[in-house]
Symmetry: C2
DNA sequence: TTTACTGCAAAGCATTTGCAGGGCG
DNA sequence: CGCCCTGCAAATGCTTTGCAGTAAA
């Protein structure tokens, strides 16, 4: 059967639920410390790993290798600038229908998906065109 | 204006063009070494960074922090197992139309997008259900 | 000559792992 | 009493950076 959640996992999950945005493991670690619910960084990672496998927490890994965690909310995707790293959320997501089909076709149990667009934001386009 | 490509950048780009799959920087480093076109690992990274900003090479960063590079090919997206890491390509991509709209609406110059589904592959679903 | 590219080695960071102490059942 | 959870610190692995030598313009 499914294993129970540990106390740490519960705290992490509650914190994530109370947050608007996706945050890094390090952010969670610091935030818990502020709230006098300190736990070791390794435990934060281990808890996130468990919640991830359980399918209640989703992960988005940035180009710099840092991972951002959040609860499964409505589809939320991004437009990311390759140069300055600016990341702006977009609203439309045309993928939901496809997800249902894939789930059957590939015998995958899909928890969530990520969709991200990469390019240059307006300021960086301008900066690039002004280079020598 | 645009800066010229260096010799190293050309070699990296040519190699990427000749490969079917997306590969890591370390893979490229080893492959170049095999081909007697050795270059320092740092140069591999610096070249990839330049090609990335130029928009001719795209990056997909895995959950473990490793980045896979490839030339801009037809939309190619994945279904990834959270547990074992298995990653199977899918064919359909319903996002292209949206990309055009976003490009205008957000004043972003979009080079490419990534779309990835996360969940459990069939073997891992079974393994999980058999846990104590 | 002047500038930019390259290699090497050291440093940086997020994440993972080994191990011993501690809590819970 | 025994097992799992934790914390700490060390280790890992990818990527970045400083610096000095080198090639190109």
């Amino acid at each position: 059967m499914k294993s129970q959640r540990t106390r740490s996992q519960e705290r992490i999950l509650n914190l994530l639920k109370s947050l608007e945005q996706a945050v890094s493991a390090q952010d969670l670690y610091l935030e818990l410390r502020n709230r006098a619910e300190s736990m070791g960084l390794a435990t934060v990672y281990r808890s996130l790993e468990a919640l991830k496998l359980e399918g209640v927490v989703q992960v988005r890994t940035l180009a710099n290798g840092e991972s951002l965690y959040s609860t499964l909310k409505a589809d939320r995707h991004h437009l990311t600038c390759l140069q300055c790293g600016a990341s702006v959320p977009i609203d439309r997501c045309p993928v939901h229908d496809l997800e249902v089909q894939l789930q059957q076709g590939y015998q995958f149990k899909i928890y969530y998906h990520t969709l991200e667009f990469f390019g240059l934001c307006n300021p960086c386009q301008i900066a690039q065109s002004q280079e020598a």
